[in-house]
């Protein structure tokens, strides 16, 4: 067992934190939030050039075959810098989905261009209920000639306006998991996009499919058998969003500690008050354990759905604790940080979005509750023990 970063990982993290701290100003970030794209394509190109877009891809697709822990460190750093970027849509959702379930041709087509920062892709899974279970997919996919016809409305599609294709999940049968994935060009006839304004710096879209038609080569994986790959996508999303939440918490703590050291009230810096000590220590405590849960979740991702326990623990904790950290950070700052031009607001917003994405704390506790009910040993994971004394 070794729960610590090795020197390469430490260097990667420092590089990413430095990059994120310097690549754009808060004012530029706020400006980007007003745009349809939501991110700066040239910055994304730089991120790709650092090797981070293709980090998890095999070398043959321009990747560096790093582990999910390394990508989590990058996501944390970009979260800490509040840098808008399409990592989630393009890499964590679409790219890794194609690597997981796509055909060789599909991988060949997209992965190298994702790794180089030249292609934006996204996925469209969620619908009106906002829930993550297969039965909540109501969009229909029907066979039509040599291809498929899609009808339905998707919500929360990241970066749809800049994506060249959208990988959409639709229902092909009555069983809950009769779900199929199709690659749809973003400019396909019948596909309309509408912006979903939201807190959190992501560019989210409603995508309506009105008799959208695609050929049979649009199929990702087996027809009617895509749910397992979607579940893995959601697991990845939850793990990496937890990493982003840790970055948000770190930035909030850093701003707060700096402020507490310099702001003078009642004859000295407010950071000398025990109340401020306790608040800051609480943030740090929760931040550090959240980070450990995230590392564990990322390390477990290689093992398919086996990591569900670890990912749900990370997302549940981070989704509760990191928004709470931003609230405490604001409390210590007081009025100054209530203004839009103080950078803490970026993190306050992002925490709202990140706690919701890929399942909020309640969702992930429900997953763990179900695991406890059906598989108590699995729920205890590596902590399984024989109770030394029997009481009953």
């Amino acid at each position: 067992m070794d729960i610590s970063l090795d020197s390469d990982q430490q260097m990667l993290h420092e590089t990413a934190v430095t990059f994120a701290a310097n690549v754009m100003t808060p004012a530029r970030i706020r400006e980007l939030e007003e745009t349809d794209a939501g991110f700066d394509a040239s910055v994304w190109k730089q991120i790709a050039e650092m090797g981070w877009a293709g980090a998890l891809f095999p070398e043959q697709y321009g990747g560096s075959e790093a582990s999910a822990v390394e990508l989590a460190l990058v996501v944390e750093a970009l979260g800490q810098g509040a840098i808008p970027n399409p990592l989630f849509s393009t890499v964590i959702e679409a790219g890794l989905l194609l690597l997981d379930a796509g055909s060789p041709i599909q991988r060949e087509t997209y992965l190298p261009r994702i790794a180089s920062g030249d292609a934006i892709l996204t996925t469209a899974i969620l619908e009106a209920s906002g829930g993550l279970r297969p039965q909540e997919i109501r969009t229909t996919i029907t066979k039509a000639g040599n291809g498929f016809t899609i009808n339905g409305t998707k919500l929360f599609v990241r970066d749809a306006s800049t994506a060249e294709v959208i990988i959409v999940a639709g229902r092909t049968g009555d069983e809950a998991e009769d779900v199929t994935l199709l690659i749809v060009p973003q400019n396909a006839p019948g596909l309309t996009l509408r912006r979903m304004p939201a807190s959190g710096g992501e560019s989210l879209w409603q995508a309506t499919f009105d008799n959208v038609m695609v050929d049979s080569d649009a199929l990702v994986g087996d027809d009617g058998n895509a749910w397992a790959a979607i579940a893995r996508l959601q697991l990845r999303g939850a793990a990496f969003k937890s990493a982003e939440l840790v970055g948000i918490g770190q930035a909030s703590l850093d701003l707060t500690v700096t402020y507490a050291k310099t702001r003078e009230q009642f004859g000295g810096p407010i950071g000398r008050f025990q109340g401020v000590h306790h608040h800051c220590a609480e943030i740090y405590r929760d931040l550090q354990v959240s980070r450990l849960l995230v590392w564990q979740a990322a390390a477990s991702l290689g093992e398919g759905l086996a990591g569900s326990r670890e990912v749900s623990m990370a997302k549940a904790k981070c989704s509760d604790a990191m928004p709470a950290a931003t609230r405490i950070a604001h409390q210590i700052h007081g009025a100054i940080a209530y203004y839009r031009d103080y950078p803490l607001e970026l993190y306050y917003h992002r925490a709202i979005a990140a706690q919701a994405a890929y399942g909020d704390a309640g969702h992930h506790r429900r997953v763990l509750s179900e695991l406890m009910r059906t598989d108590l040993d699995g729920f205890r994971g590596d902590n399984r023990h024989d109770l030394p004394v029997h009481y009953f």
Partner: protein, 391 residues
């Protein structure tokens, strides 16, 4: 002891509800909401609504009769605040709560004669000038100075966090008249006509979407008759009215509205999934919140009961305000989670939940954590003034 409203109180509650439903119809709502204003209503509508409150007799209903008031007790006042908060009406603010009470308590006869009749009709808007960039929680640090010059004082300095200053007719301004003191002694209060030369108002956008203000005084000449209370004794004026203010802010209408709104959200059917209210874990969370909301209601009517008996609640006001605001923040955080994926969506988005109100309040209510004495400062007040712990 009686936990039910009397028949007369209940009738008043229904009267206020009728008034609010009549004056805040969905059409009026659509026409006058303004997310760039602190109260989320246009300045014009807020002023017009305040005059309606005045016409209905609501502004002065708790004032002594000698000042044109209705002499009704704090139970009625609390019912009014409660219902106004629940219906998110504009107009319960310093211009009808804090300032009139402070003028009655500390104003000169001339000031009372000039301002109270206008205020009871809802014709005046005020801003309160206490905070400065370097004097937030620590008012003793304030630097805006007033220098005597014949029949005038000349005021120079800068006030921050000046809510509604852009629509104010007058400022209620704390200044330093004794430059040799850096403590509470040496502060003096003035009423400042906002149209005087040298008064300027600047804008600061907040993270909640509305615009806050700051006020600059550049050699503003204020006549001595506009001094409130005695020279150098401004601290008494500030502290004398602050408990009343906290009591007004402590009403539980907001948290009851937050609860009803979440219950409505959780009860609605969902495509492909059961209503959230079917989930015992969700209900347990709502039960916990409902108990907190009940405590906020009880705390506000407890304050009202003490006041109605002629007592002067002090740290009790701080406790009630803390309970209300902490409860409201619990609703804000719980709302995020109960809204799930929909939590971050803003007004105008497809599929937006509850018109985006939960999200905007999650940001807006941040000010509960520091305004009018934040959570930590309020706890210090309770510990020192209420429990007698050393400072």
């Amino acid at each position: 002891m009686d936990f039910k409203l009397t028949a007369e109180e209940q009738a008043f509650r229904l009267e206020v509800q009728d008034f609010l439903r009549r004056e805040l119809t969905p059409n009026i709502w659509l026409a006058h909401r303004d997310p760039t204003e602190q109260g989320m209503w246009t300045a014009d509508f807020t002023k017009a609504f305040r005059r309606k409150l005045g016409a209905a007799g609501y502004i002065g209903m708790g004032w002594p009769k000698e000042y044109g008031g209705g002499g009704r007790n704090r139970i009625y006042q609390t019912i009014l605040w409660d219902e106004m908060e629940y219906h998110r009406a504009p107009g319960i603010d310093r211009s009808v709560t804090y300032i009139p009470n402070a003028v009655i308590a500390f104003g000169s006869d001339a000031q009372k004669a000039e301002f109270l009749p206008k205020m009871v009709r809802g014709e005046l808007s005020w801003f309160v000038g206490y905070s400065e960039p370097e004097a937030g929680s620590d008012l003793a640090n304030l630097k805006t100075k007033a220098v005597e010059d014949g029949d005038y004082f000349v005021i120079t300095g800068q006030k921050a966090f000046s809510s509604d200053a852009h629509m104010a007719d007058y400022g209620w301004v704390a200044t330093r008249t004794d430059a040799t003191s850096t403590k509470h002694h040496g502060l003096t209060m003035f009423i400042v006509d906002m149209t005087l030369p040298g008064v300027t108002v600047s804008e600061y956008p907040t993270l909640a979407g509305w615009t806050h203000h700051a006020v600059h005084f550049d050699n503003v000449r204020v006549h001595k008759s506009m001094m409130v209370g005695a020279r150098d004794q401004g601290w008494k004026v500030v502290m004398g009215a602050i408990d009343y203010e906290r009591g007004a802010l402590a009403s539980a209408g907001l948290v009851n509205y937050q609860l009803d709104r979440l219950l409505a959200w959780c009860a609605q059917p969902r495509e492909g999934a059961a209503p959230l209210l079917d989930d015992p874990v969700v209900r347990d969370e709502l039960v916990r919140l409902a108990i907190e909301a009940e405590t906020a209601k009880l705390a506000s009517y407890w304050l009202a009961s003490l006041s109605a008996k002629g007592l002067r609640p002090q740290h009790e006001s701080s406790v009630a305000l803390l309970v209300k605001r902490e409860t409201s923040r619990k609703f804000d955080a719980a709302g995020l989670e109960l809204l799930g994926q929909f939590a971050p969506l803003r007004a105008g988005s497809p599929a937006v939940a509850l018109a985006g109100e939960v999200e905007v309040e999650y940001r807006d209510h941040l000010y509960f954590q520091f305004a009018a004495g934040g959570f930590d400062i309020t706890r210090n007040v309770v510990a020192t003034r209420g429990l007698g712990l050393p400072r």
